[in-house]
Amino acid sequence: MRYSIFSLAAQTLKGHRGWTPAWRDAAPKAEYDVLVIGGGGHGLATAYYLASQHGITNVAVIEKGYIGSGNVGRNTTIIRSNYLLPGNTPFYEWSLKLWEGLEQDINYNAMVSQRGVLNLYHSDPQRDAYARRGNAMRLAGVDAELLDREQVRAMVPFLNYRDGRFPIQGGLLQRRGGSVRHDAVAWGYARAADQRGVDIVQNCEVTGLTIEGGRITGVETTRGAIKARKVALAVAGNSSRLAGMAGMRLPIESHVLQAFVSEGVKPLIDNVVTYGAGHFYISQSDKGGLVFGGDIDGYNSYAQRGNLPVIEDVMESAMALWPGLGRIRMLRHWGGVMDMSMDGSPIIDHTPVQGLYLNAGWCYGGFKATPASGWCFAHLIARDEPHEVATAYRLDRFATGRLIDEKGAGAQPNLH
C-alpha cells in the first residue's frame, strides 16, 4: 500500500480497518546473497539501499530483538552536518542531503524537521574555533552562520544571558540541521526494504559466524543456520562481541549514553540548541516533551542504563543554560550502548575475513548518519569498494596513523 493523502482519506471512510502491517515478519530462508546483522537504523537502511540502489534483493536483516529496539530508538533525534575534518564533512553532508529527500524516497513520514541546530559559544577562543568550523563547513558546501549574542538572543530569548562565568556570546547555526522522528526511521526503512523483497527477521540472535578458509559462508542463529555469500555487521554497541565471533578485536569500547525527556509542554523551543560550556543539547519533540542529553557515563557498559552522576551533571548544565527548565518535571530517561571508537569516528570497511563487512564505531553520533551509513555500506557490500564520501572510515587507519579525531582526545574512548 502506498501512503498518501488519498490512502489516508480512503481509510478514514472505512474507519481505519483496512491498514495492513507495514512489513512482513519473515521467517529466515536457508540462504541469502547478503545477510545484514542488526535491525537498527543502519542495518535497515543498508538493506533498503542494497535493494533500491544496487538491485540486490535476496537480502535478510536479522535482529536479536525487535527492529528499532537499539540505538535508533535511544537517541535525541538530532540531525546535522557541522563537522570540521575532511574525512567527516562530505559524509555527514551526504547524510543530511539524504535526510532531505528521505520521506519521498521511502514513502514514509519520518517527520524530518529542519529547525536549525545552534551551537552556543561562551568565550573568544570558542568563537574563533566555531568560526573556523563554520568556514570549513562553508568551504565544503555546507551551510553555516556565525551569530553574535544579539542574534542568538533574538532566536532563543529565554536562555540565561546573565551568566557571568559562561556568558552566551553567540553561536554557530546550521539552519538545515534539525530533528527526525527516530522510530519512524527504522519503520520507514523496514517497510521500504520489505516492499523490495528484503526479509526482516526479528527475534533471531546470531550465535556464531561460519568461516571456511578465511571466507564467511553463513551464520548460526537461535533460529537455525543461515547461509550467505556476504555478511554485514551493523550492530553498534555489540560490534566487539560479533567481531569476536570472527576472531577479531576492534578499536572500540562499549559505553552507555543516557538521554532524557520532560513532560509534554506547549511549544517552548523552536530549534536544537547545544550548550558550549558543558556537554548538553536540547530540542522539543512534536509531542511536546523536551528531549535532552549530555555526556556518556564514561565507563565500559552493555547495560542500557546509566547512573545518577551523569543525570545530575546534565540537569546542572540544563539549569545553567536555561533556568526556566527548573519548573518542568522530567518524565523518563533511558540508556543506549554506544560503540566508542578510539578516534571518535566510525568504521565502514571490509574485514580480514572475505565476505564479512563491518559498520561500527558510531560513538554517540550514529543517528544523524543513518541514511549515509546505509548508503555507503550498501555500496561497499555491492561493489567491494568504498563509497567516495566514506573512504576515510577504514578499519586499518589506527595502524596507518590516518585517524579522524574531531575532538583531539586521543585513544581514550570515554573522552570523545
Binding site: 566487539s240 572500540i252 569500547e253 564514561g298 565500559n300 552493555y302 547512573n307 552522576p309 578510539m342 570515554n414
Partner: protein
Amino acid sequence: MRITCPHCGARDVQEFTYLGDANPQRPEGMATTEAAMHDYVYQRDNPAGRHRELWYHGAGCHAWLVVTRDTRTHAIEAVDTANAIAKGDAA
C-alpha cells in the same frame, strides 16, 4: 554505582576517574614492533561481562585501583590497588 576503595571504604563513583581496560600491558617501546604497539594503544577486548579496569581515586586517597566489574550489570566483584597487583600481593 559505588566502589569500595581498599583505603577509603565504599565511595560514590563520582570520586573516581575511569581510565579503561587494565589488561593491556605496554610493550617495551624500543624493542617492540609497530603491530604490537598498535594493539596495545587501540585494540580492546571490550567484553560483555567480567571486565578488569583501572579507576583513579582522585577525590580520595589518590590510589590507582583495579576494579573487576560486570559490564552487563555494573556489579563489582573485586577491588584491589594497582600497586598491590603490581607487587603480586593482591587479595
